[in-house]
């Protein structure tokens, strides 16, 4: 690599990093507690019972929820991947902002209500929002996605620079016999190259995750419309199929899968005359990939089941690789340690730029690349 090419990469690495470092640090710091979201979350205090999950009536849960929150509607039902619970939100309208949802939680085996704090308040919620959208909704998420993209550029340019910057060193050597700057450069290089693949994957999948809203819109505009067109809605005035019947039907129509989410008519994920049910499989991968089914809201009959398009599958696949929640507690601990290492990479990078700032151009330092 000629000196000019190296300088160009240094420029790219410096500026892509500098622009995103503050946000990358925020993401790494807020992401740290989120790795242990389940462990830090509320204790469900689930009662011991022999009743199988899903045996309690969902209709009676909905009735209780609405009785406790008069004037509100139930837009969705959320099942849990790990626990036999059902989260039933209520809101002012079917299209209300999910941040305004009030949740009531039930044991799906016994139908008993579980008292836990609202999931949209408290420390973990603040961390989630800072990590997800800086409390800025979809624009906030897309902004963080752009910062993530710059971070990917910084990682790639960092790998390119690793070559000329460590050419004269054996792998992993951190020189402590020179300037402090050089020691930190070696540390930055070591931690950077060691965490490269992990940081690259987590950054890239994070960027894909920020595209959730446009991906949902594309699915709603194309697939949902096509699925709804597969059968003319019965539209029997005033008749609404029971949720228990819909769930029974869809479980029979799609055997071997679990219902994860139900979207009621009028929400953006269903149609005015259909209930949408989203199912998942049982393996680490298939438990992330949602399969949508549509049921007629009047008769409860399942009218369409189809796989998600490739762009939605890409989103689902990128979630576990970003969260690190698919390999038990040891994987989460590994995730946290690698996250801490990348925090050191970010801070040391900032220091390397700051300390060298005044004398830039005259870099006769031992750590500078040979041409």
């Amino acid at each position: 690599m000629t000196r000019r090419v190296v300088r160009a990469w240094v420029w790219l690495h410096r500026w892509s990093s500098l622009i995103c470092t503050l946000f990358a640090l925020l993401l790494c710091l807020t992401g740290l507690p989120l790795i242990f979201k389940d462990e830090l979350g509320p204790d469900l205090k689930l009662a011991a019972t022999t009743a199988p999950p899903g045996s309690a009536s969902v209709d009676s849960m909905i009735a209780r929820v609405l009785a406790a929150r008069p004037g509100e509607v139930v837009p969705y039902l959320f099942y849990d991947r790990e626990h036999p619970i059902l989260k039933v939100p209520t809101a002012a309208s079917m299209t209300a902002d999910p941040a305004s949802f009030h949740y009531q939680v039930f044991d799906t085996r016994t139908g008993l209500q579980i008292e836990i704090p609202q999931p949209n308040e408290g420390f973990l919620y603040v961390m989630t929002r800072l990590h997800l959208d800086l409390f800025g909704g979809v624009p906030g998420t897309l902004f963080l996605g752009f910062m993530g993209l710059l971070l990917v550029v910084a990682i790639v340019s960092g790998v390119v620079l690793y070559g000329p910057f460590t050419r004269r060193l054996a792998f992993g050597v951190v020189r402590t016999d020179g300037s402090r700057w050089r020691t930190w450069l070696d540390l930055h290089n070591l931690l950077g190259i060691v965490t490269l693949a992990w940081f690259g994957v987590v950054s890239f999948t994070g960027v894909i995750n920020t595209l959730a809203a446009p991906i949902e819109l594309a699915w709603q505009a194309n697939q949902l419309v096509e699925m709804a067109a597969q059968a003319k809605p019965a539209e029997i005035e005033g008749q609404r199929a029971s949720t228990d019947a819909v769930l029974r039907d869809v479980r029979a129509a799609v055997p071997g899968m679990n219902v994860m989410t139900v979207a009621f008519p009028g929400t953006p994920f269903a149609t005015p005359s259909h209930v949408a049910i989203f199912l998942t499989g049982n393996t680490p991968i298939t438990s992330r990939i949602l399969k949508p089914a549509l049921a007629d809201a009047s008769t409860g009959q399942v009218v369409s089941v189809r796989d998600m398009p490739w762009y939605a599958t890409a989103l689902f696949m990128s979630q576990p690789l970003h969260f690190g929640d698919y390999g038990g507690l040891p994987l989460k601990i590994i995730w946290a340690l690698l996250d801490i290492a990348t925090i050191v990479v970010l801070i040391s990078g900032l220091y390397l730029w700051w300390a060298k700032r005044p004398q830039r151009g005259a870099d006769a330092e031992a750590g500078s690349p040979a041409s």
Partner: protein, 71 residues
């Protein structure tokens, strides 16, 4: 071993171990694949620990480790 190969051997091994570890728990369905995943992803962490330990032992150890260093 060429200089280029010596320089990039470890980074490639680490990246391969990481990617294997990430995919083992995701594609493999539990059981031994989880353990393999933890083991593979521990490789970069152990590498960091070794690097820091060598650094604490001072410049002498670092100099030994880099035999072809220009001083």
């Amino acid at each position: 071993m060429s200089a280029l190969r010596r320089q990039w051997l470890w980074p490639i091994v680490l990246a391969a171990a990481t990617v294997f570890g990430l995919l083992a728990a995701l594609i493999g369905e539990g059981g031994v694949w989880r353990t393999l995943s933890w083991g593979a992803l521990a490789v970069p962490l152990v590498t960091i620990a070794v690097g820091l330990a060598r650094m604490r032992r001072g410049p002498l150890a670092a100099a030994e480790a880099s035999s072809d260093r220009h001083r």
